[in-house]
């Protein structure tokens, strides 16, 4: 990381471009170690991208603004149901029109839920949001207009590009033989056909959403808004006394999180083509939270790592599926008690920079001042 930040700008851009390219190409590479033996790798990657999206959104709420949201799946459900209703159950809108509406509806519900509850004490908020997530699900279960227990199917798909049979062009996958790598011309992904079997285009869609949200996240975090969130999280009263309208910013964080959650839900619904209330159990709120906390709340790269682990590991090791919740529970307890800041805590780079600085000073024979010692101790 520290070498990366020292590189000249064009080199940095090139590196990021290569990383992005690799991410997009991942399902085509069919890398033997990464690929999931028991389930379609591209589908798994799509799930990973949705978890990444959700983790980025929840990270704004939990990691940046310090609001514990245990009902995040509620916004995800709102996004999914809005798309399902508009494109299939009560309308036949094109998906690309339904998604913005879904996202806005999720955001508005974030404001409606947040406006009254963000004034109550932080840990009450956790319980209220938990209640909210369950209410959304129970309402879906009990309302025929929302498909009830049976759910909604035939949800709209993204528009295809090019001819239904071949797309604009076909992209071959790799085939790994014994020591040889071949282009497999029989196993191709059509660019860009959103069909039932091939999940690769959906993964590309999900990944694109992740990249966009990630960019927005970087821009917003590195501004007055991001500072206000962090200050509010660290010491709400002090922030308020430094002129930060904390309530406004908490509401902003909450609704921004809802926005991203709604987007993730909408994409999920479109890929599944079918949703029912079972897709929005409380368990998912906890898994999302686990992704954020395990990765390192407050650090966007950390939460992406967490999302990857939470979504990917159970697919890679299908045999242990029964023990997945148990494992996450254990992970939460262990992390909270042993490493509360997560695998990749935020500000790692800042601390690394400081250490580097101190080492430089030592090497130059300069006496470390007492501040330096304190840093080392802290």
């Amino acid at each position: 990381m520290k070498k990366l930040s020292a590189l000249p700008k064009p080199a940095k851009i090139l590196i990021w471009f290569l990383i992005a390219l690799f991410a997009y190409a991942l399902p085509l590479l069919e890398l033997p170690i990464l690929s999931t033996p028991d389930s379609d790798f591209a589908s798994v990657l799509f799930t990973v991208s949705i978890y990444c999206l959700v983790a980025l959104g929840l990270n704004i709420v939990v990691g940046y603004a310090g609001l514990l949201d245990l009902g995040y799946v509620g916004f995800y459900a709102i996004g999914a149901y809005t798309v399902a209703i508009l494109t299939s159950f009560h309308g036949s809108w094109p998906l690309l029109l339904a998604i913005p509406v879904a996202v806005v509806v999720a955001m508005i519900s974030g404001v409606i839920l947040g406006a009254p509850t963000l004034r109550v004490r932080g840990d009450y908020l956790a319980i209220v949001t938990l209640g909210f997530g369950e209410i959304i699900r129970l309402v879906a279960v009990n309302t025929e207009w929302l498909g009830g227990n049976k759910g909604i199917n035939n949800i709209g798909r993204p528009p295809n590009l090019g001819d239904e049979k071949t797309g604009l062009f076909e992209v071959p996958h790799l085939f790994w033989g014994d020591g040889t790598v071949l282009l497999d011309n029989k196993d191709t992904t059509k660019f860009l056909i959103f069909g039932y079997s091939d999940a690769v285009p959906y993964y590309w869609m999900g990944l694109t959403a992740v990249v966009l949200v990630l960019l927005a996240d970087i821009l917003i975090k590195n501004s007055r808004v991001g500072r206000a969130w962090e200050a509010t999280r660290e010491d709400e009263d002090a922030a308020e006394l430094m002129g930060v309208p904390t309530f406004k910013f908490k509401l902003l964080a909450f609704s921004t999180g809802a926005f991203v959650g709604g987007l993730a839900g909408a994409l999920f619904a479109s890929r599944q083509s079918f949703i029912n209330p079972q897709s929005f159990l409380l368990l998912f709120s906890i898994l999302y939270l686990a992704a954020v906390v395990v990765g390192g709340q407050g650090n966007r790269w950390g939460v992406l790592l967490g999302a990857f682990l939470v979504a990917y590991l159970p697919e890679r090791f299908r045999g242990f599926e029964d023990f997945r919740v148990l494992a996450f529970g254990l992970a939460l307890v262990l992390l909270a008690t042993l490493r509360p800041e997560g695998l990749l805590p935020p500000r790692r780079t800042v601390r690394a920079k400081q250490l580097e600085h101190e080492l430089d000073e030592l090497e130059e024979g300069a006496e470390p001042d007492h501040d330096g010692e304190e840093t080392a101790r802290a």
Partner: protein, 276 residues
């Protein structure tokens, strides 16, 4: 009684030119359940003045700050800032109107760098929102540049600009206190309230800080200062208000306070014993 002027940090400052009244505390009473922390307290601060607020432990000094900055709502009485009542205003509104403060027990944002802490202060005057930030609109860029420049200026003024990129939590105790003052100044206040800014400092550091506070005033700020060290208060303030058990027992120029028998009984007597 000892000669309090002996160790003054510098010659007594000439009384600054007085403008109008910046803050008026009018018959403020504040109760916590049965405890009366402030009892019918009134005083004024004139523009460009350094007003000292002193009194023994538990006299109600910090509570007075809390009432002025909107943390607690007075049980009765009124607080006027530039002629308008600020009772019932939200805390951040009061700050935006022009009252800033520091805290007796340091309350920085520990996971943010020194620079970012001060930037949060400068943001009090900014209006960049989500969309400006997202699309990097001119307003975002302008405010970010201005805030940055101002913040670095303030860090330099407090002598901690070399630590700009360190986390607040990793600063030394003294630098944390200095950073709090920089952060408060960054909000662009007219009145700045310092709650025992020199607590825990050694004598030399204290003298330095008091000189700094005078410089703060000379930059056009009005200062309300809580300080335990009598000698320092005498040296730096234009006027002093003395609280005891929530009541104002004296008010006047440092020389008058020094000779006021009630103050000597309530405060200096204790201080003298402590000192020996």
């Amino acid at each position: 009684m000892p000669d309090l002027t002996k160790q003054e940090p510098a010659a007594a400052a000439p009384v600054a030119p007085r403008g109008g009244t910046v803050l008026e505390v009018r018959n403020v009473t504040l109760k916590f359940g049965g405890l009366t922390a402030l009892d019918d307290v009134s005083f004024e601060i004139a523009e460009g003045e350094i007003l000292g607020l002193i009194g023994p432990n538990g006299a109600g000094k910090t509570t007075c700050f809390n009432a002025v900055t909107g943390v607690y709502r007075p049980t009765s009485g009124d607080i006027l800032f530039e002629g308008a009542s600020i009772i019932g205003l939200k805390k951040h509104k009061i700050t935006q109107k022009g009252i800033a403060r520091t805290f007796q027990n340091i309350r920085l944002f520990p996971t943010m760098t020194a620079l970012e802490n001060v930037l949060v202060g400068t943001d009090a005057q900014h209006t960049t929102g989500m969309l400006s930030a997202l699309f990097r609109l001119p307003r975002h860029r302008r405010e970010e540049e201005q805030g940055h420049a101002r913040a670095m200026e303030l860090l330099r003024f407090m002598g901690i600009h070399r630590k700009a990129d360190e986390l607040a939590a990793n600063l030394s105790y003294g630098d944390q206190r200095r950073l709090e003052i920089a952060r408060a100044m960054a909000t662009g206040p007219k009145l700045i309230c310092l709650d025992e800014p020199a607590a825990g400092f050694n004598p030399a550091e204290k003298v330095e800080l008091m000189n700094l506070i005078r410089k703060v005033r000379d930059q056009g700020y009005t200062v309300l200062l809580i300080e335990h060290d009598m000698k320092l208060v005498m040296g730096v303030t234009d006027r002093i208000v003395v609280l005891e058990f929530g009541r104002k027992i004296a008010e006047g120029a440092p020389a008058e306070i020094r000779d006021n028998p009630a103050v000597i009984a309530a405060y200096l007597g204790v201080d003298e014993e402590d000192a020996s």
